[in-house]
């Protein structure tokens, strides 16, 4: 597929819809899953590494605002943190080699931790109240996000390798 602005917008929108689908299914199955797994972060990380900082920032904005719309938190906090996540993930991944699987997982983990710290700080600042960390369960989220995100990229490479061998 040719990489045009229009194409990127469509991909960003589809990525957001996929995140909504995953979030809805996971939430309906086991609400506790949503504390340890953030489908929107996975989508932002995955596409930011593939497409770069501008795409990452725009997708982060969209995913973050959609996440905020399904929450009683302050609208825009998720948008801001995911915009920064998308931008810096895309920016750094263009400057250092994050292709090896282990490095990719570690990079995603670091970026997820940064996003979580930002989210906790901004939420505490805006609400002027301590943030509920769900008994520390919320800190598992970056690990799960990194594992799922890097697994997706590994899966994509595996499929590409198989199809190129087939061709």
């Amino acid at each position: 597929m040719r990489e045009t602005v229009g194409g990127d917008v469509v991909r960003a929108f589809l990525g957001t819809i996929v995140a909504v689908l995953v979030y809805s299914v996971a939430g309906a199955g086991a609400p506790a899953l949503l504390v340890v797994f953030n489908a929107f972060s996975v989508v932002v990380l995955y596409f930011s590494i593939r497409r770069g900082e501008i795409f990452g920032a725009l997708l982060g904005t969209m995913c973050g605002l959609v996440q905020d719309a399904f929450s009683l938190g302050v609208f825009g906090v998720g948008g801001l943190t995911k915009t920064l996540l998308g931008f810096w993930t895309g920016y750094i991944s263009r400057r250092i080699d994050v292709a090896p699987l282990a490095r990719n997982a570690l990079f995603m983990l670091v970026m997820s931790v940064v996003e979580m710290v930002l989210w906790v700080l901004i939420t505490a600042l805006v609400r002027l109240k301590p943030v509920n960390l769900q008994g520390g369960l919320v800190f598992i989220q970056p690990v799960v996000t990194a594992v799922v995100g890097s697994s997706l990229i590994a899966l994509e490479r595996w499929i590409q390798a198989r199809s190129s061998r087939g061709a």
């Binding site: 979030y23 982060g60 904005t61 399904f70 825009g76 801001l80 509920n132």
Partner: protein, 279 residues
């Protein structure tokens, strides 16, 4: 080379950051007030959420239906539905009987609840904290509006509908949300207060004076109706612990365990009439 070409990434980042900061600033200190933009995003994406949940349930249903005896399954579903409404009716009948002072009052109360329950399925939970809100598959087309009480399948209070209410979807603020407040009264000794959430599984019973009597572990709390949102007599939860509050010595620290749980809110009842529903 123009500035946009040279500094495109930085300009996009600055633009988006300023946009979000403005968005956040507009809401502070309201916090839970929904802006038009937020409502728009909810309206746009809630049908997708609804479709996803229905598709997954549909696939599961087809799978089960294939193996089950179809007639028995249909009958089972019908009985489940009837059972749900009967449980709700029974709960409200019990509540009304306890509250009613005379036969005339009882008749008036029963008439008020006739045909006012809308059964809804939960299609999503809060994306950042499951204890704050849920999304149900009934909206304005089904008679659901803002500030209507929502109960679980056993008649225990779950929360209230809040804006935005979509055509076929609505958001429900749970009683466990930190911004939720429900006026309640103890069934045992008449102790009154407000149940507020912590955005965890438990709540606090606030504004109970330390000098007052009453309030024991296990006491059942029911809505008073004084908040003009929840009808009186709905079961909310039971007192879990009572202790002195060092932070505010004039009040007692009472922890309440709500009756509803995520295992009992796959189907909920929206009370379309009552103080909040404008009935």
């Amino acid at each position: 080379m123009p500035l946009w070409e040279r500094r495109r990434s930085a300009l996009v980042l600055v633009g988006l950051t300023v946009f979000h900061l403005l968005l956040i600033s507009l809401q502070v200190p309201q916090g839970t007030q929904k802006s038009l933009f937020e409502k728009g995003v909810f309206f746009l994406f809630s049908p997708i959420q609804r479709a996803a949940t229905l598709t997954v349930r549909g696939i599961g249903s087809v799978w089960n239906g294939y193996f089950d005896l179809r007639g028995v399954r249909r009958e089972n579903q019908k009985l489940k539905k009837e059972n749900f409404f009967l449980k709700q009716d029974l709960r409200f009948l019990e509540d009304r009987l306890q509250l009613a002072q005379s036969e005339a009052q009882l008749k008036a109360s029963l008439a008020a609840f006739e045909g006012t329950i809308v059964a809804a399925r939960v299609i999503g939970v809060d994306s950042t904290n499951p204890h704050q809100s849920i999304v149900i598959d009934k909206g304005s087309f089904d008679g659901v509006a803002k500030d209507m009480a929502v109960c679980d399948r056993n008649g225990a209070l779950v929360g209230r509908t809040i804006g935005p209410v979509g055509f076929k979807e609505a958001m429900v603020q749970l009683v466990t949300d930190k911004d939720s407040s429900v006026s309640v009264k103890s069934e045992v000794d008449g102790l009154t207060g407000a149940v507020t959430g912590r955005s965890t599984e438990i709540c606090d019973l606030r504004y109970v004076l330390a000098s007052g009597s009453g309030g024991h572990i296990g006491d059942e709390l029911r809505t008073t109706g004084a908040d003009r949102i929840y009808p009186a007599g709905i079961r909310v939860g039971a007192i879990q612990s009572v202790e002195a509050d060092p932070a505010t010595p004039i009040f007692r620290r009472i922890v309440v365990k709500p009756y509803f749980g995520f295992d009992t809110i796959d189907v909920v009842a929206v009370l379309t009439k009552g103080p909040g529903g404008g009935g």
